[in-house]
Point group: C2
């Protein structure tokens, strides 16, 4: 098979060694002679895998002991409902503040408004979401403040998280989880769909401070209640066993690569290669303001917009896959999550220069 | 690798040819050079797979045109919440009737009570769930009547579904979906977690009559609202792409085997081999009453209960895996879903006779 570098925003490229392990190990989990997709989630072998995955998360993320790890059904958008359902009732105002930095933060806020009052803490809508806005002082009576730390559509990223004092900071880190060191003790809850940096789609991870669990209303759907996940080690019903297995392998790979610190440096290098390429060109136009550029999603336009389809098609012929921007914003986008090797980014930069030379 | 027959109740054995296809095709989906777990759910290749899977379901299940097919996050227990959330408000009484035939029907009813009033239409609790109870006449003011058509813990199965007139019949078919011909036009909604007859865990299928969609309350969590799934072809957020791919392959396999009619006959043969073995023995004691025996889960006890652990261990040594009954009820259980070949059942019957000969 020809070498392909997958720049898709998610489901996204996963580490090559993990992909091979999955293929080789698919038919026989833990020496049982049955596959991970065929083994009971109540088997001691699967329970051992789950506990090991907990330990890997805690070690790799440097997650403090007073945070619970939940394996959540349905992806980050299930958390768009579950977060307000579980946290809104903590304060009598039943109000939460949301920062608007793009499409997903808007969807999250719209969903949250079903369960309480939502205040807009800040927005960068006026300038096309090309930057991260300054946040007004947090209302101490807010149940939580919600941010989307990396915005895949517009290629922006918080370099520092806002300080929220006693108000729990809730962070959707779907498109950057475990890509850089984070002091989780400064957050109340972090969640992330798995399908970018962790594994396959259909599952989300939640890191939540233990005291924030247990505040869901009585009529909260069972599988949206954090306490149900905590009390059942995320197995109140049949867990997504295949996804958890893959996440386990991805975490082992990440640890073997030197962990989050090491991958963070490589991620910075990778992004620098592409942003340098964009900055040195009049042919390409980066979308995000310099100080808020994402290390995960490099979004850009072509000065000659009518060349975009050709750009994407030519790239794909050279094994540079899925460079088309999100359907809502257009343009081009290179998603360069943890699994993308530096060589892939260099191949893309070479292609971009060559494309500019021939078409520019 | 030694030949293993997996009698686990779920996640369960999947068809051998499908397992090989998944392994062989894991690294390259649709000739793109990237895996199914790495490809965008918005790619035309994945959308084609999803549409093809719809067509396969409609053909294999003989599902009428006025039924929608939904690919639901989280498994059947997410439907324990979603069904009452979506259907309860159809009638002013906000009442639904549930039939109690075991553990899962109880969990379903308990969950539903969060969203309306639940009436017990019938129960077989008094005789240990060893049979399917007679159902009292359905209240025409009920929003729906809910049954669990196959009960994995106790090995019982409805041979015919109750007649509910204008009241929609809702059927949890998790442990028997596509195992026998069903006239879906007599049902309002059928749902099933995938991890027994369809594919990996973490996803559930819903077949729902179109007029039953659109009745969720305004504060229904987005990914529990049937209308959201319908309006977005089950892709309001990132679908569980791996599971849908596997389900697609399982459906093709089933169609190749002759479809539901053909597999239904084999399922009857398989069950007969084991029930004959039980009926001819004083050493083994079947759990379910004869007229309500499940063709999917054959539950039995050993007359000498202290031999159970040895029975399970000896079987496993011979490649007959996961014969231990559910942790809540004990005993032994052989789950023989669509993917279990007749040869596996015969091997188990041979083992049982030999075990009885040496220990009985």
């Amino acid at each position: 098979m020809k070498e392909v570098y997958n720049f898709g925003a998610g489901p996204a490229m996963l580490p090559r060694p993990v992909m091979k392990q999955v293929q080789e190990g698919f038919l026989d989990f833990a020496g049982l002679g049955v596959s991970i997709v065929e083994v009971s989630h109540r088997s001691k072998q699967f329970e051992a895998l789950l506990s090991e995955t907990d330990e890997l998360f805690r070690r790799v993320a440097k997650l403090p002991e007073n945070y619970e790890i939940l394996y959540f059904h349905g992806g980050a958008q299930m958390l768009f409902s579950a977060v307000p359902l579980n946290l809104m009732g903590r304060k009598p105002k039943r109000m939460a503040q949301y920062v608007e930095t793009g499409n997903f933060s808007q969807i999250a806020a719209t969903e949250a408004a079903k369960f309480g009052r939502i205040e807009l803490a800040a927005s960068s809508a006026a300038n096309g979401f090309a930057e991260i806005p300054k946040i007004i002082p947090v209302d101490p009576e807010a149940s939580f403040l919600h941010i989307t730390s990396n915005n895949t559509l517009f290629g922006t990223q918080y370099k520092e998280f806002p300080k929220t004092g006693e108000v729990p900071l809730v962070v959707d880190m779907t498109s950057e989880i475990l890509s850089r060191p984070i002091d989780y003790s400064k957050t109340g809850l972090v969640y992330a769909g798995a399908q970018k940096n962790l594994g396959p789609s259909g599952i989300a991870m939640v890191f939540v401070r233990k005291d924030l669990i247990g505040h869901a209303p009585k009529d909260c759907p069972k599988l949206l209640d954090f306490a149900v996940y905590r009390d059942n080690h995320s197995m109140a019903n049949t867990a997504n066993t295949f996804a958890i297995w893959m996440i386990n392998l991805v975490l082992k790979w990440l640890e073997g690569e030197g962990g989050v610190e090491a991958i963070s440096k490589i991620n910075s290098q990778k992004a620098a290669v592409l942003y340098d390429c964009l900055d040195q060109s009049q042919f390409y136009r980066p979308v995000a303001h310099k100080e808020h550029r994402s290390l995960m999603n490099v979004c850009f336009n072509l000065a000659q917009e009518d060349l975009l389809a050709d750009f994407v098609a030519q790239a794909q012929k050279q094994g540079l896959y899925a460079l088309k921007g999100h359907r809502l914003v257009g343009g081009a986008r290179a998603s360069i999550y943890n699994a993308m090797p530096l060589a892939g980014v260099q191949a893309l930069a070479d292609f971009m220069k060559e494309f500019e030379r021939t078409k520019g």
